[in-house]
Symmetry: C2
Subunit: 389 residues, 2 copies
């Protein structure tokens, strides 16, 4: 393997890691959160906003971009970076998850998946070669393999078949990425470990994939409806079987405390639509838990969302103003709250990196989570109607 990932430091008290991922569009300091740019834009913000808040790497979505505007068109226009005006690293997922969750599924075979577009019903096919060709067309820096994400809950034998098929597709994706010239051109290919809640399947999948020449490994099939302790258990059952010298990515996660707990389990990379999606509904993150700015209590609140947090939204606007924008359904509400929420996540990752470097990550992350969850609990208690005697 090329030395694209440098493990700078491993925490003594937890499995947390401080690392550095080199891509052809720049270096990513880990642990890192990756804002999600499904359709060639992180919703409601400009690339300049993303730069301002310290985004290092963003996501693109193979399924969506292939349906609209099409990966061939994006290639013609110079690739996804140029198309969307983002010159930093981009990771694209394979589209498998969206095929299983959004499209009308027709048939899953070893060759790939036949499905109907959620946009216009067209029948389409995605196999290992197709997803790697699309990601090569997009020119992403990190490409994900096609996988089959079993639902939760699922039976052991059903899951075993999904894991087996995912491993076959992973090998075929790696081969396809070599054949298209993507690997030679510097695209990193990450495998995805499935296995649902079965430790034996997770371990076997991790070991099988770890033996191959993947540039990184994702923990897939988490946060698909299972209880939170089960989710952590699945990550904990996976990371010890992954090579220490390659980055680990937990897909589609999660709340701020979940991210910190995952870092403590040895995860390096995260993506999640939550900070962007909830922003568009008036929800903002703070060190004392999330706030719903649409609540009456913020009507005349002159304070910023988070005092002292250095982003455009917190520097210039009051909670009262942001509440007004959100209630009036002004687009600017989505923009300003997305800037804040993404910055909050990115800043949290920067803090985690700093505390890993300082050697006090374990105590810091426990205290951070405690404060966050205490704030959340207090607000929940206040919202509950008083008990009748």
């Amino acid at each position: 393997m090329p030395g694209h990932f440098t493990l700078l430091q491993t925490d003594r008290a937890t499995a947390a890691r401080r690392g550095r991922l080199a891509t052809r569009h720049g270096v990513v300091e880990t642990p890192i959160f990756m804002p999600v740019g499904t359709q060639g834009t992180v919703k409601a913000v400009t690339p300049a906003h993303l730069r301002e808040i310290g985004a290092q790497i963003i996501l693109g979505n193979t399924y969506h971009l292939n349906l609209r505007p099409g990966s061939e068109l994006i290639r013609e226009l110079g690739g996804l970076h140029r198309f969307m005006g983002w010159d930093g690293p981009i990771l694209t997922d394979s589209g498998g998850f969206q095929v299983f969750s959004l499209a009308k599924l027709r048939r899953v075979r070893n060759e790939g998946i036949t499905f109907q577009s959620h946009l216009d019903g067209t029948t389409l096919f995605l196999g290992p070669r197709e997803v790697m060709t699309i990601q090569h067309n997009l020119g992403s820096d990190v490409a994900m393999v096609l996988d089959e994400c079993p639902p939760w809950p699922c039976k052991h034998d059903h899951c075993a078949k999904a894991v087996e098929r995912s491993a076959r597709w992973a090998r075929e994706c790696l081969a396809a990425a070599s054949e298209t010239g993507a690997v030679a051109a510097g695209q990193l290919v990450f495998a995805i470990v499935q296995g649902s809640t079965f430790d034996d399947l997770r371990r076997a999948a991790a070991e099988e994939l770890a033996a191959l020449e993947f540039a990184g490994f994702a923990v897939g099939g988490v946060s698909v409806g299972e209880p939170e302790p089960e989710m952590f258990r699945q990550v904990a059952a996976t990371t010890p079987h992954l090579p220490a010298d390659r980055p680990r990515y937990a897909m589609g996660l999660g709340s701020p405390p979940q991210l910190l707990r995952m870092i403590a389990l040895g995860v390096d990379m995260f993506d999640c639509v939550m900070p962007t999606r909830v922003a568009r509904n008036g929800l903002v993150f703070t060190p004392d838990g999330p706030l719903n700015l649409r609540n009456e209590q913020f009507r005349a609140d002159p304070r910023p969302v988070v005092e002292g947090l250095d982003n455009y939204t917190c520097r210039h606007f009051s909670r009262a103003y942001l509440r007004h924008l959100s209630l009036a359904n002004e687009m600017l509400a989505g923009t300003l709250l997305t800037i804040h929420n993404l910055h909050f996540y990115l800043d949290l990752m920067a803090q985690a990196r700093a505390h890993l470097e300082a050697g006090d990550f374990a105590a810091w992350h426990r205290a951070w989570i405690e404060r966050y969850e205490a704030g959340l609990a207090a607000r929940r208690a206040a919202a509950r109607p008083p008990e009748t005697s």
Copy 2:
């Protein structure tokens, strides 16, 4: 009158003027276009975007802001500038136009207007004192008087009554603005000349209002459905009767050629929702007329909206990308196209000012309009189905 307006230059070949309006939040170079910020935000863009594209003064809306979040709340929070994070000049309209167009009208009397909120049906009253108190609460730099905008077409006697009532309200608004301390605090009060398509009424209204201590004069009741030549005729019937040493503002106008023609008739200030509203539907302005970026012809167009125009959108994004965003209903489409369209309007005003200074405004504005309208005509011809023989 204080010397808040300086007439720097008057064009020799047209009635166009180059001026400078001093407000308590800064100087405005005229002719100028004012982006519309109805609900305390210019839709889809941040104040930083507005600064970047050279916005000098923006609009706020008395009717909307008084309904939500309320002008008292905005006053409590330090005024509209601080509330919305814009420290440049703000002009607020009186809300009269919105009461007539949006609200369910209950009764118009000499005392004011009783109406129902379009948001929740609450019965409310706006009179001269109310609109000036609201605008004082908002702390805008330029306040507009309450007026009655007659519909088009309307009868002479109906219109005469609206003009008479508007003149009465204008006097009462001026008195109210003195009593509240707004005038002493530096708020400029502009009168509005009504009169529909009746030259005698326009002239009488202009002369009556010009005799009072107003800081500026608006031409109201234009672009309310009348044919375009009629609109120009109304402006031409009004401006000669207004004092040369005070700014003139044509309300709610218009297309780029309309703005240039109005400048040639002696108008200094404009506002219009068009550039922001059409941006959210994929329409962009160019020197060769407007383009609908959603059209198939832009599918793979790698060019910026306008080659060489120095705004964020034109510097970084292709028509193909903007088309994709607009078709995918991404919020960023609204943001990027709004940035472009507003910059296009502001840049057009900057060009007009430069050509006034250079002394070649008349020839330049004719050539500009000719190119724009030729492009528009060519596209219309191309879109028309071929004639059958």
